[in-house]
Symmetry: C2
Subunit: 209 residues, 2 copies
DNA sequence: GAGCTTTCGCTACGCCTCGTAGCGTAATAC
DNA sequence: GTATTACGCTACGAGGCGTAGCGAAAGCTC
């Protein structure tokens, strides 16, 4: 996950439990201290490992926090709730619930801030968080096209653009609502948002449910 | 702007030029160093003032960077370009251009990250950045309603909700596209985005231009 | 002008964190 | 056994933080 697994077959193996303990301790420290006051020495103490062990596995605070936060977003699921509107509302509410947790808020935004000056970190975030969750858009879109709720797009290039656009609109709106405007993405807001998004995507050819 | 103006009529007045010099030095340091490696001592040296002077005017790194970044967003304007679609495309492209500047990227996101654990800082961001730019949505919306491009909303409470929703959708999508997806919010993307947003807002009763 | 008030530049300081080096020990593969 | 790697621990220099204290400068009031 973090640095390397060079198929080292010899020597003492790494303690796998330490990884989960360190990542859990990182999230706990994010809750109690936030990003700026989080120190690697403190995380090591919480996890019950030596500080040097932590440095042997992660390059620094940035990489550690990205890995710790990325696990949070793997909880996202997209159960079939019968309609595209219900599917979107469900996943948006899940996403909002994750962003309600302080370890996700401060950790994610701080990592994104650092990634503006660190290409490797940006790629790490993209691979372990952003691109991983794009699967939700792809799945929901495929379902909706099967149901006839969305027009099928023959041009694969244009379809990819649309997927990216939807992803940025959904995730961006929730993040902005939660962190910038500072208001909750509650059921009422999610309903309004989903209505506008669906009308826009359906090309204005569909009635309001 | 920063700390206090208690109508201190007596004593040596503050050097107003130092404020602008400090904020400009902060932006320059953000460009060259980024948030995490920016130090107040370095900013003071760049601005040609003593470090103690800096601490007399700002409480810390967070507040200083918020003020330095807030000035960037005051450049946003909303010239009348004839149609709601053109107005939106114009302001989104302006917003994207600001987010293209490294001092805006790292400074804004880091401040938002810190604000998740600092209520005073969150309020400072809301007042000096977020709420200030909501004027653009209000103005564009009023224009569009005059043109008949958007339905008028009699219920003031629902109208306020709609304004908030539009603001979060526009700003959130651009920020997410730029910083999370790491792709440019170029003319093509802005056109696609505006089309979806407008279809959603018009309630599906309008043709694609 | 004299006197008061506030700001400014400068130096110095204790505190904390960072990231690394070095050592001895533990755990596994061959 | 031996080789190899991981681990815990201690110690260290480097550097930033935020503050205190000082003398000097720049205003206002009288």
């Amino acid at each position: 996950m973090q640095s390397r697994t060079p198929a080292s077959r010899t020597g003492r193996p790494r303690n796998a439990a330490a990884d989960t303990a360190i990542l859990a301790a990182t999230r706990q420290a994010l809750v109690e201290l936030g990003w700026s006051k989080l120190t690697l020495g403190d995380v090591a103490t919480r996890a019950g490992v030596a500080k040097t062990t932590l440095y042997r596995r992660w390059a620094g605070k940035n990489e550690l926090v990205v890995d710790a936060v990325a696990e949070l977003f793997d909880e996202l699921e997209l159960p079939d709730r019968g309609s595209l509107a219900n599917d979107i509302e469900g996943v948006v509410l899940q996403f909002a619930a994750i962003l309600d947790r302080p370890e996700a808020r401060s950790g994610l935004m701080a990592a994104v801030a650092e990634s503006t000056r660190d290409d490797a970190l940006r790629e790490r975030i993209r691979a372990s968080i952003v691109d991983r969750q794009k699967r939700l858009v792809l799945e929901g879109r495929a379902r909706a096209q099967c149901r006839g709720e969305l027009p099928s797009e023959p041009d694969p290039e244009e379809a990819a653009r649309t997927v990216d656009l939807i992803f940025d609109m959904v995730a961006g709106a929730v993040v902005h609502r939660t962190l910038m405007s500072g208001k909750p993405a509650d059921a009422e807001w999610v309903r309004d948002f989903t209505r506008v998004l669906l009308l826009g995507l359906a090309g204005g050819t569909q009635d309001t449910p």
